[in-house]
Symmetry: C3
Subunit: 353 residues, 3 copies
Amino acid sequence: METAPIIPAPKRGYSVARVTRHWYIACHASALRAKPRAVTILDTPLVLFRDDEGRPTALLDRCAHRNVPLSMGSVEGGQLVCGYHGWAFDREGTCQRVPALCGVQTGKGRRVAHFHTRESQGYVWVYMDPDHEPEVEPYVIPHLDEPGFSTVRYDAEIPATLHATCENILDVPHTAFLHRGLFRGVKRNEITAVVRREADRVSAEFLGEPRPTGLIGNLLAPQGGTVTHFDRFILPSIAQVEYGLGDRHRVVATSALTPVSDFVTRLFAVVSFKTIVPAFILRLVATPIAMRVLKQDVVMLNAQTEAVRRFDGEQFVSTDVDLLGGHIWRLLKQAERGDKPGDPVEQRVQLLA
Amino acid sequence: METAPIIPAPKRGYSVARVTRHWYIACHASALRAKPRAVTILDTPLVLFRDDEGRPTALLDRCAHRNVPLSMGSVEGGQLVCGYHGWAFDREGTCQRVPALCGVQTGKGRRVAHFHTRESQGYVWVYMDPDHEPEVEPYVIPHLDEPGFSTVRYDAEIPATLHATCENILDVPHTAFLHRGLFRGVKRNEITAVVRREADRVSAEFLGEPRPTGLIGNLLAPQGGTVTHFDRFILPSIAQVEYGLGDRHRVVATSALTPVSDFVTRLFAVVSFKTIVPAFILRLVATPIAMRVLKQDVVMLNAQTEAVRRFDGEQFVSTDVDLLGGHIWRLLKQAERGDKPGDPVEQRVQLLA
Amino acid sequence: METAPIIPAPKRGYSVARVTRHWYIACHASALRAKPRAVTILDTPLVLFRDDEGRPTALLDRCAHRNVPLSMGSVEGGQLVCGYHGWAFDREGTCQRVPALCGVQTGKGRRVAHFHTRESQGYVWVYMDPDHEPEVEPYVIPHLDEPGFSTVRYDAEIPATLHATCENILDVPHTAFLHRGLFRGVKRNEITAVVRREADRVSAEFLGEPRPTGLIGNLLAPQGGTVTHFDRFILPSIAQVEYGLGDRHRVVATSALTPVSDFVTRLFAVVSFKTIVPAFILRLVATPIAMRVLKQDVVMLNAQTEAVRRFDGEQFVSTDVDLLGGHIWRLLKQAERGDKPGDPVEQRVQLLA
């Protein structure tokens, strides 16, 4: 039978790009132990396990023999052994043993695709171009374990495309509407956004943003101060919000997103913050607010996903204040096709926030 | 991305026509209040709301911006405000406000399709050709609130095509079989049906039908009398049974059908009756019988729908006593294509009922 | 509308063949009584009933009139009467009565496909080429009710293709792995398999197989003895394991498989055995082991099915010790196409079992 591509093509008519030559978080490093672990990235079932030196290893989760998921098997002597007939695969995906076979154990075609891995900053990352050497290294999350910073991590499953999830995380206008009273006050201010697109990223810097007046604002800066605020997207799937208030408060929320399938995105968030408010108080107050914001976003993104699927495709209209969505889509498509990046771009937009 | 048609094409191989230039009941008028209401007609999600003058309004249930269902939003100042970014749409579907935008608020493409509505006889009707002026008015249900008549209304969801539902409601032969003992007695009589097809309707008049002998018959006419009986289909989706017994009994059951999707039809039934039996007694006795008949029909229509879908299409064989099904299909297809109606037709058929 | 083939084509990219000119078990003879019974074979819904002489009869489970399943109807006077309008079909599938119709009752097109049946060895078999005379007779299960043999029957539904199910039943290598400790001991022995393919079957004879050491082995032959062991596939769907130990023990497990749909196979198993161990003890000990083996196989076959469907097709790699799978596939495809069988083949393979 004909060989299908390992990474299937995305659904057409949707903002779904499949950037394979890059790294995505598969799971927390602590979650990968003795047993093999099934993970799906880019609609592709992978099995992760640790070899005899403890190195994380990723193979396509389908035995070369009868296509049973290898994640149903076990790790023996650093090899992944299928639970059906006992074929044993090494960390490169080559079958080293067929138990019932007399004589030579290896043979042409007796292999499964393998994917490069890295263990970094407490996560296992997978390079999604099978059997190819990585051209880059995984993104390094800033301020993680940096002195003076506290860190909170959380994960979530978002029922939306990677693109819709990024746009949501980095979108300012919806915070004043969907999250009314949580993030921002009722009063709107005209501010300036400076959008800068570079080879592998796009950011928006917000100028003239007043001290926040909502609940979080009162908490962070009872005495006021100048606000610095950047929203950033970095290929293939980092969505980052950086927020400073005077000299004493700084928070960087980095969301490393893993495209599970066209319409499901896994969020691995790291929030690092430096503030005069004791960390335990901040956690106590900010966590329920953050969870409520996340829940409101998940409800809305789920409704968006269902609607675009029901109409079998997107029909989006944008305005100038949709600052980053279009640029993110352009970067994703360029990276998917392997195009050379375009020239840097800088734009200034006025918006009410 | 390419623009898909707002009303999607029906599944092929089935008796599914999509007559868009006509009116369908969306909901009871009393069910449309302050909150927007989601309704699906012809597989098309609509959002209904009342503007600031209380007029029912219908738009496509998909925000022009990021495609979130507008039915998740709220009505403010007579406009429908999306729950995600706060885009506000007027009763014509034009976006009048983008909260985060500085300067001009309206813009090309910032609109959603709108559908004409009427509030009539306690129902909200929608004209399913978006952005077009209606060429006709909604059907007027006879005897509703007419002196001397009592009325019962009920709704149901039928798991079948509009065509199969119409045929079932107006089909005499199955009543003697599926509803044995409820409608008709065991004895069969040869009667004459006169079928007349006109521009927008087809009817069957039954001549020589004896006084009914089943349970309902005994109830209606203990003393006998001449029976008059008409079954009618009127475009796009009215199925009507008119039944008289002597001078003193008359019942007109009008089913206004709304094609929710190819295989789901919503039934809004109005039964108006004039009889010497006190209305409360009739309701008491007839309601459980009617509900049992409805339940038997729903079971059968559901089985029919599952079977035709399982075989991926219909393979129907008809005989002369399938009086109206073929004519209804012809009228529906002509109306779907916008053809000129054919010449009137009259046929006489003998059947055992 | 166009006529679709009665037996739909199988899904491509999978080892699914549809051999229609052959017999499959529909149900136990005792399960077919007064009421019609719905059975699906080769993705084709059938209705079985007994005519007025008690003969099993099989028709396509779709009324010619409005496609309602005939299995919702009833048997009256040896005819199958549809529950919707009362059309009555005889054992050849010809409609003999349309209750509402005056005059001639039969008419062109008023029929449903019929399938030949046999009642044999306690089962009802159906020949899956509609309206054609059978060219062969159903398989005769050996040793059923033969003096000296005891018999156990059991049924199961397997979530896998017919081919994957056959291969699993007749596959030796997986027993040492998936069923470790139940069938065979830990020690592996090199044995010889002689594979013989003939016109309608393929078998493997195992030479040099030692007395089994696992639990079943100890049970069957505490005193040792020579082992005879054959695995056989017989068209269209018989998977048979024959096992002997010395003169005194013999077990023949015949699995007659019915392809319900592409990925569901119904198993009708007959295990006939002759042994010095009292039958009731053997049943007591062997039944829970057999059930555990079956359960392990079902879990694995289900995982295989889900994986091949997730990847939308099979990507199998085989070795010499996959003795029968390739031959079975060849026989099935030849039979599906009606090809002349190839010349007999004999191969010898060494394997560790």
